[in-house]
Amino acid sequence: MYLQSEYCGTHENFVLKSSPKKSYDPPASTITPPPKKKRAAVVASAPASASASKSAQKKKTQVERLNSTFSDTESDSEDDRETKKQALKARNVDKSATANIVGSAENTEADSSKTGHWVRRSVREAGQGDLDNPHVVELLTNLLMNDENLKVLKLKKWLGPDANTLVMDAVLDGLEVSEREMATDGYIHF
């Protein structure tokens, strides 16, 4: 006699076993599928109701699978719950640390409270990569080195028209004056 417990190795079939339906399923070794051509003919000749019942069965198994997963989570032991709580606490610690770095703790907390998920936000400011452009680096270096070739500084030779505000700020910083006092040369009259 065929034993159900041997056949129902997978979780899905285990659920099927516990269902009230009592239908005999032959072992897999005894099933001999028809050749491909014949199988296609069988499928074509089968009535539409048969295919509909198959899809209904599939849906049933999906629903049962979901039920089983929920039942698993509900049946977690207390130890598992404690470990989950500890993991959540660790997440909260990470969240506060990131908020300190970004400087927008309120935003981070608000986002996480809305969605229930913590998502790592990039600290890097948008457009910061343009500062690594070799032309920009060369220009800033020349500005800091007081290069004589920059007496007439035409920025369009160094930067594209799509240069962002970060790049422009960096260039302006290179031109910015400090509080260092210096005697004027003969050019300036008063």
């Binding site: 930067l159 799509d162 422009m168 290179g174 031109l175 910015e176 004056v177 509080e179 050019y187 300036i188």
Partner: protein, 144 residues
């Protein structure tokens, strides 16, 4: 009498600055910063801020205030970005600034002066510089 000035620690080489057509990078904050730099850095005496469209009128007014206190003697700004009144104010300011220094008419600075073009009034057009302009460079002058 020699006076002391706040001078550029990072850069006191730049004499002319061309920042035209940077609409993404030049916003109100950057433009205000530029005005402060021009006011505090006496080495810059020519500026081109044409084709910059993202600037508020109030920022342009503040910029004009800075120009009045700066050493800028020659400049250009697109007329369709500023009012006619503001343009007159800017031109008056840079004309007054021409008494603050003589780098724009110094024959020893002719190499730089020749490169400064596309201003409302180019420094190479100064009559005092005519004897120092080579025949090859006469094309830099406007209508003679």
């Amino acid at each position: 009498m020699a006076r002391s000035f706040r001078s550029a620690q990072h850069n006191d080489v730049v004499e002319a600055l061309y920042i035209q057509n940077f609409n993404i990078g030049m916003k109100d904050a950057q433009f205000a910063k530029l005005g402060n730099i021009l006011r505090d850095n006496p080495s810059i005496w020519a500026i081109n801020v044409g084709e910059i469209y993202q600037i508020e009128n109030s920022t342009w007014e503040a910029f004009a205030d800075c120009i009045e206190e700066s050493s800028v003697t020659h400049m250009y700004a697109s007329e369709h970005t500023i009012t006619g009144v503001l343009k007159d104010r800017l031109r008056d300011a840079i004309r007054k600034n021409r008494s603050k220094h003589n780098r724009h008419i110094d024959p020893n600075n002719i190499d730089v002066i020749q490169q400064i073009t596309h201003c409302w009034w180019n420094p190479i057009n100064a009559k005092i510089l005519r004897p120092y302009i080579k025949n090859n460079d006469l094309g830099l002058l406007g209508s003679r």
